[in-house]
Each structure stands twice: as structure tokens, then as C-alpha cells.
């Protein structure tokens, strides 16, 4: 059984072609798998291994290093509350407590309807807007308890534009064929790029 859909298989090829070594596509392909499935399955890792020319164990090795790759199903919306210094100073602890009681789960848990997973997270590069959180890696700033409740209602009633977990960028890079230079593999190119030599200081 193939893991990737036909459309995603094509995308995977397009991604791999951009790198001098296909193994570099490993993380982008894991993201693509998570986008398709919401989490990273064994089938996904096996197929990615094949695509980039390595073993499933190597893919698991990489996959397990990174926080965002989920090895079990998670909620449709993953809510990450920042608990690092600036947010902690501005009330992240209270926000987390409120979130736990509103959702009825502890940090790390998921609601039984599969809608929400709640996690404590580290600095989200929004420290001036503390306390902050992310829903599927999209920020909410200076979040109060009331705003949190409102957010949950909006998410539950689909009154928002946050894509489901696994979808990160909704815009994909596409390099037009006629402008694509193509990768420069380390073992093939031995001379300087043309613009470094042809100018001869004449410009």
C-alpha cells in the first residue's frame, strides 16, 4: 500500500529535486506526511525512507528528535501555551491552569472528542505579547482567560481560519521550470560559479 496520495507523491518528488542530496528532504517529507495524516505513521516513515534512500530506523531517528512530529494521533487543534520566562512572568501559569480546567485535560492530554490537544510549550518568539499561545502553530497574543474560552468556542464551531493539525504553510513554494537552476551537488561541481569568474573585475 502506498502511503502518500498521488498528489502528495508528486509533491514529494518536487521537494526532493530541490536538494543536492535527497536525504535533506526528510523533514519536509515528514511534514507532508503529517499534513496528510495529522500524525506520523509507521507506513509514512517506511515510504519516506524509500523516497530518500535510507532505512525506516533512520527516519524514526530524525523524526523522534523533533517536537512537532507526533507519533500518536492528536487533536484537530493542538494548543501550545508558552511557559518560558516572559510568558511565565506575565501569567502563563494561570492561563495553563485555566486551559486545563476549561478543556478538562491536563497539559499533554487530548479531549475525548478528538478536537483539542493541550501542551505546554517553549518560547514562541512573541515574548512582548505575553502570555501567548499557538493553535496549530498560529499565534494568539496577550491571552486572557475570557479570550481563551472564546477561542475554544470559535474553534469548536469552525468560526475561524486555522487549518487542522498537520497543515502548516498553506502556500507552497513552486519553482517554475524555466527559472529553476537545480541543485549543485557537492561532488559534481568543482569550479567557481560563472559570475565569480567571467566578470574579471570588468563590471
Amino acid at each position: 500500500m502506498k502511503f502518500f496520495t498521488d498528489e502528495n507523491s508528486e509533491l514529494a518528488q518536487e521537494i526532493i529535486e530541490r536538494y543536492p542530496k535527497s536525504r535533506s528532504a526528510m523533514i519536509p517529507l515528514l511534514h507532508l506526511a503529517q499534513e496528510q495524516e495529522g500524525w506520523i505513521t509507521d507506513e509514512a516513515m517506511a515510504e519516506i525512507a524509500e523516497l530518500v534512500g535510507t532505512t525506516s530506523a533512520e527516519v524514526l531517528g530524525t523524526c523522534s528528535f523533533y517536537e512537532m512530529f507526533k507519533r500518536k494521533p492528536v487533536g484537530k487543534y493542538v494548543i501550545n501555551i508558552c511557559t518560558t520566562m516572559s510568558c511565565a512572568l506575565m501569567g502563563a501559569g494561570d492561563l495553563m491552569k485555566h486551559a486545563e480546567s476549561r478543556l478538562g485535560v491536563k497539559s499533554g492530554g487530548s479531549t475525548s472528542d478528538g478536537m483539542f490537544t493541550l501542551e505546554g510549550a517553549e518560547c514562541q518568539a512573541a515574548c512582548t505579547e505575553a502570555p501567548c499561545l499557538q493553535v496549530n502553530y498560529r499565534h494568539q497574543y496577550r491571552v486572557t482567560a475570557d479570550q481563551f474560552d472564546q477561542l475554544i468556542e470559535e474553534l469548536a464551531s469552525s468560526d475561524h481560519d486555522v487549518p487542522r493539525h498537520g497543515v502548516l504553510s498553506r502556500i507552497r513554494q513552486h519553482i517554475p521550470e524555466d527559472r529553476f537552476v537545480r541543485p549543485t551537488p557537492p561532488d559534481e561541481v568543482v569550479s567557481a560559479p560563472i559570475w565569480m569568474v567571467t566578470d574579471g573585475g570588468e563590471k
Binding site: T84, T128, I194
Partner: protein, 470 residues
């Protein structure tokens, strides 16, 4: 309090525009600052066009003359680093460090979301100058909006002939490939970034020998630069190194973006004049943070991102100048200040940082992997009132296995404590291990009485909830 000046920009959450020259944030006021149309209408891609009229060497020299210090943390001059590529070893690559995740740091994300073309133009100028034949733009995984903005900008710039084959009909050709991470702080370290880009676990490599400029991506010469560093290049090429160095000081010219968070009246991201602006200007200036919240007293601040030893009011008059901050016991790092007022529970505040670095250890070095975890556990029991006096010694002993010898800290004139200058010695490959110790060491040195009160069981209640499990 005085009237506040400076303008918050609603579509740039946190950014506050003020009167200082605006080199990298000049377009932030426009709501469509991220579009190619706005970029071209406001002088965009002019720096690249100027660069293409000159030889790569001339462009490199212009950047070297500008003394553009790296904005990612280490503050190394970009033009000098570019010169470290061994001659005649090809291909060379550019890796853009957009992994911004140092506690307190918030600027690269703004630059990617609000002015992605400026970053792209900066990448192109660097590639042209140093002969880099492919660029990988590595954005932190947890930044979905930045990824969307940069992806759109790349697609538009390819279509408009700014990226790809024969850029602007010249013989300069380069691809920029968008890549993103998946959540691991240590990947921001440049050699770990390269490991990650090769599809591996993001574990740092030993330097030497693995200085990226000589042995980087796929073993080839590789320039790693921060997003803000590269975002300065279009301006430098358009206006010249001389205009750049006329702002700020000779050793720290230009501007830099600084995020001030925590207990100030107006937390925000400011573009400040480098070298001359002081911490007092930033924290108390009416065009900036406007003072401490509720007019409280300042207790302490972290001057350069979570890794930096702490300062107190005694250091407020230091300027943003590495050569002055270093001898006083800390560093400017990634342009991030976290402010604690008099109500702050200092041991608990230190724990919010130590648990970060302990959690983010990649596990490659024993002192970091084991030491970080121990530091967190010991400090946690002290904070929770389960500690003993012996624990305070233990914290230092464990810290010394990571950083042997004197650890840098600020002076405390009232206690007769003199500053120990930056940097420190370390037993680890990268700075994650030492960074788990830095907040503990600073807090214990500057506010020992608070720890003693905790272990004696007569302290004030913890003001900060520190998550147990993240």
C-alpha cells in the same frame, strides 16, 4: 509619567516605531509590507541591482567595510566571516538561520512575516558576493505564518526574475529553497542547523574542525547568517557602507532590533541605534518601554536572551556595545531583554529558563544532558520549598561540571561584589549546557537571600507558576 511617544503598529504585533533611523523595519508601517508590489514601490531590489553592477569582490568589500555584526547571537562581523571560505573550494552554500527560539527573542519572525522580500534580497546579495550557488532558507517549524509569507514572496520573486536562472538578465543564477524545522531549539546553533538540513537529528558538531565556512553543509564551505543580519544587506548596498557606519558607533554600527518583554509598561520590539542606546533608554525612555509596570522598582533583567547572565539597575547605563557589556559580565546575544520587577520570585524566574535549556539539551554531551536535568530538579525543589541549604551548594557544584572556573556575572556594588567578565569556560560542545546554569548562577549571585529564605522555609509565596511538564 511623561507622554509616551512611538507608534504601535497593529498589523505588526509588538513592534513600536520610533524616531531612530529605520534600516530593517522601514516598511513595517504599510499593511501590505510583505507584498512584492509594496516592496518594489519602496526601493525594493534596488540594492541587488546595484550589487549586480559591481564585481562580487566589491560587494563583499562594501559589506566588510560596513562592519555588519551578526544579529544571531555571537555578533561576528558578516563580511569577515564570508572571507573564511577556503579559496577555490566549490560549491559553497548559504543557509539562512530563521530558527529564532532563544527565550526573549522576537525579531526575525517579524522580519520574515512583514518584509520577506528584504530578506530574500539580502540572501541574493550574499550569494552574489561570496559565490554561493544555492541558498536554503530555514524557518523555525512553529512559525506557520512566516512560512506562508516567505513562500508567497519566493514564488513572486521567482516569477519576477529576481531568483533563479540569470537573475535580472545577468550571469548570476541561484535558487532559494524554503525549508522548515520541526521544533528543537538547539537546531538554531549553526552546525546543528546544518545537521538538520541534511536530514539528521539536530545535534551540534565540534568546532573546530566543523566551522561551517570551511566544512559545512555536505562538507562544503557554507555561510550561515541570521535573518536580521541578511535583512540589512539591501540597505547597505543601496546606501553604502559609509552611510551605515555613520549610524551608531565604529565597532557597533547601524541599528538593531531589540525585544523587551516582561514587567515594563510597554513591552515591544524596537529598532534602536546600535552602540549608543543604553538599557536605561530602552527600559525607561518615553518613546520605548516607558518604565517598569505600576512604577515598581526594577529588580533584574536578562540583557541578551535567556542564555545571558543577568543585570540589575546598576548596569542600566551600559550601551548596546559588546566591548562594554562583556567586561561587566554578560552579553548582548540575540537582542532580547526580559525584565523582572520587585514582585518577582527570583528563584522561580530562574527556573523558567533552566527548565527550558534542560528540556532542549540534545543529549550529546554528558555535562549538559545530566547536569541540565539535575540543575532543573534541584532548583525545582528549592523553588517549591523542598530544598535544603546543601542544595544551594549543589547547584553551583553541578554548574561547575558544565562551566569550570569563575562564571561571568554582574557587579553588585552594595554587596561589594565585583563583575566577572564574559565569556566562560565550558565542557560542552555548544552553549545549551552553560545556558542552563547561567540563570541559576546569576540569580544565586545577585539574590542569594531569596534562595536562603526558600530553603529556610520562610519565603514569600511563589509568584510564578512553572509548568512541571513541557
Amino acid at each position: 509619567m511623561n507622554e509616551m511617544t512611538g507608534t504601535p503598529i497593529p498589523h505588526a504585533p509588538g513592534f513600536i516605531a520610533n524616531e531612530t533611523p529605520r534600516i530593517v523595519t522601514s516598511r513595517f508601517d504599510y499593511e501590505d509590507s510583505h507584498t512584492l508590489t509594496r516592496y518594489e514601490a519602496t526601493g525594493g531590489y534596488e540594492g541587488l541591482k546595484k550589487a549586480l553592477q559591481r564585481t562580487p569582490e566589491e560587494v563583499h568589500n562594501e559589506v566588510r567595510d560596513a562592519t555588519l555584526l551578526g544579529r544571531g547571537g555571537a555578533g561576528f562581523p558578516a563580511g569577515v566571516k564570508w572571507g573564511f571560505c577556503p579559496p577555490e573550494v566549490w560549491p559553497r552554500y548559504l543557509v539562512v538561520n530563521g530558527d529564532e527560539s532563544e527565550p526573549g527573542t522576537y525579531k526575525d519572525r517579524l522580519l520574515m512575516e512583514l518584509d520577506p522580500h528584504q530578506l530574500i534580497e539580502g540572501c541574493l546579495i550574499a550569494c552574489y558576493a561570496v559565490g554561493l550557488s544555492q541558498c536554503f532558507l530555514y524557518i523555525r517549524g512553529e512559525m506557520a505564518v512566516a512560512q506562508e509569507r516567505v513562500a508567497q514572496a519566493l514564488n513572486d520573486a521567482y516569477a519576477a526574475g529576481y531568483i533563479g536562472k540569470n537573475i535580472q538578465d545577468s550571469d548570476f543564477s541561484v535558487d532559494i529553497v524554503l525549508h522548515w524545522g520541526a521544533g528543537a531549539y538547539v537546531v538554531g546553533e549553526e552546525t546543528a542547523l546544518i545537521e538538520s538540513l541534511e536530514g539528521n537529528r539536530g545535534m551540534p558538531r565540534l568546532k573546530p574542525p566543523y566551522f561551517p565556512a570551511s566544512i559545512g553543509l555536505y562538507g562544503q564551505p557554507t555561510i550561515v547568517n541570521n535573518v536580521e543580519t541578511l535583512s540589512n544587506l539591501p540597505w547597505i548596498l543601496e546606501h553604502g557602507a559609509e552611510a551605515f557606519t555613520s549610524i551608531g558607533t565604529e565597532s557597533s554600527p547601524g541599528t538593531r532590533m531589540v525585544a523587551v518583554s516582561g514587567h515594563v509598561k510597554r513591552p515591544g520590539v524596537y529598532e534602536i541605534v546600535n552602540g549608543t542606546t543604553t538599557f536605561r533608554d530602552l527600559l525607561y525612555g518615553s518613546d520605548m518601554c516607558g518604565g517598569i509596570r505600576d512604577d515598581n522598582q526594577l529588580k533584574a533583567f536578562v540583557p541578551g536572551g535567556g542564555s545571558a547572565p543577568w543585570f540589575t539597575a546598576d548596569q542600566l547605563d551600559l550601551p548596546f556595545e559588546a566591548s562594554q557589556v562583556g567586561p561587566q559580565g554578560s552579553m548582548l546575544g540575540s537582542g532580547a531583554i526580559m525584565v523582572m520587577d520587585e514582585t518577582t520570585d527570583i528563584p522561580a524566574a530562574a527556573l523558567t529558563l533552566t527548565k527550558f535549556y534542560a528540556h532542549e539539551s540534545c543529549g550529546k554531551c554528558v555535562p549538559c544532558r545530566e547536569g541540565g536535568t539535575w540543575l532543573e530538579q534541584i532548583l525545582r525543589r528549592v523553588v517549591e520549598g523542598r530544598g535544603t541549604a546543601r542544595d544551594l551548594e549543589l547547584l553551583i557544584e553541578v554548574g561547575e561540571t558544565i562551566c569550570p572556573g569563575d562564571f561571568p556575572h554582574a557587579a553588585v556594588p552594595s554587596k561589594g561584589i565585583e563583575a566577572v567578565p564574559f565569556p566562560y569556560r565550558m565542557t560542552t560542545i555548544c552553549f545549551v549546557g552553560p545556558s542552563a546554569f547561567a540563570p541559576i548562577h546569576s540569580a544565586l549571585t545577585l539574590f542569594r537571600e531569596e534562595f536562603e529564605a526558600k530553603v529556610a522555609g520562610n519565603d514569600h509565596p511563589t509568584m510564578i507558576e512553572v509548568a512541571v511538564d513541557v
